[in-house]
């Protein structure tokens, strides 16, 4: 099982059932996870596509799409930030 966190406008599109999810056996990397999400939830997949979407694994930003995913990871999808 992994924990998926969707922030901001992604949260409004994402299926709440994705918060705790068992990934299929062939999903081992962030790129694989994004492909799987795009198939399972096309609207969410399109929203995540932007080059400005950032991904955090266990609360640290990761830019490498080949980053491996381990059981119990917390993976967050972050739209462009707008603080201040």
């Amino acid at each position: 099982m992994v924990k998926l966190v969707f922030l901001g406008r992604f949260r409004e599109i994402a299926n709440p059932a994705l918060a705790q999810v068992a990934l299929p056996g062939h999903v081992h990397t962030l790129a694989g996870l994004r492909d799987w999400l795009a198939q399972a939830e096309p609207a969410l997949g399109r929203a995540l596509e932007s080059a400005r979407t950032q991904v955090a694994v266990n609360q640290a930003i990761v830019r490498d799409p080949s980053h491996p995913i381990a059981n119990d990871d917390e993976i967050a999808f972050l739209p462009p930030m707008s603080g201040g």
Partner: protein, 158 residues
């Protein structure tokens, strides 16, 4: 250094007074000669459209830590003596303070610069997501081209 991400409304004047007192109580750095601050408020209208409420979402834990990292960077760059950031999250009404940044330094130049630089960082790099609700519905706000230009000028990824 104090970083606070809070759902509660706050009084910027009281926060600044407390920040100042903490530095002059004999325990803080004694060479502080300048305090600069900035307060961002929730506007009643944006470009002529009334704003009902503002909603700001955080990523609990991550957000405060990232703001801390940005503040550490500003402190290192400018040699400030202390920094204060208070950022609201949740539902915010017009007239309420959204963000307070204050800097204590030996002299005014570093204090002004620290506040400006940290605000530039917060606009594009703080993990916060802002949604405006007005009469024509709600929309998520993203940094403007101007915010990105200011951030680019402020420095590379920290």
């Amino acid at each position: 250094m104090t970083i606070r991400v809070t759902e509660e409304a706050f009084d910027p004047g009281a926060e600044i007074a407390a920040f100042n007192t903490a530095l002059n109580d004999g325990e803080g750095p004694g060479d502080a000669g300048a305090l600069a601050s900035f307060v961002g408020y929730c506007r009643a209208a944006t470009a002529g459209r009334p704003v009902g409420t503002l909603y700001i979402e955080q990523y609990p834990g991550f957000t405060a830590r990232e703001i801390q990292r940005l503040a550490d960077d500003v402190s290192r760059q400018l040699g400030t003596l202390d920094l204060l950031v208070v950022h609201r999250v949740g539902t915010i009404h017009p007239g309420e303070a959204i963000v307070l940044v204050a800097a204590l330094a030996a002299h005014r130049a570093e204090a002004f610069e620290a506040v400006r630089l940290l605000m530039d960082y917060l606009k594009t790099d703080a993990p916060l997501w802002k949604k405006e609700t007005g009469p024509d519905g709600a929309r998520w706000i993203e940094p403007t081209a101007q915010d990105h230009a200011r951030r680019a000028k402020a420095g590379e990824q920290v």
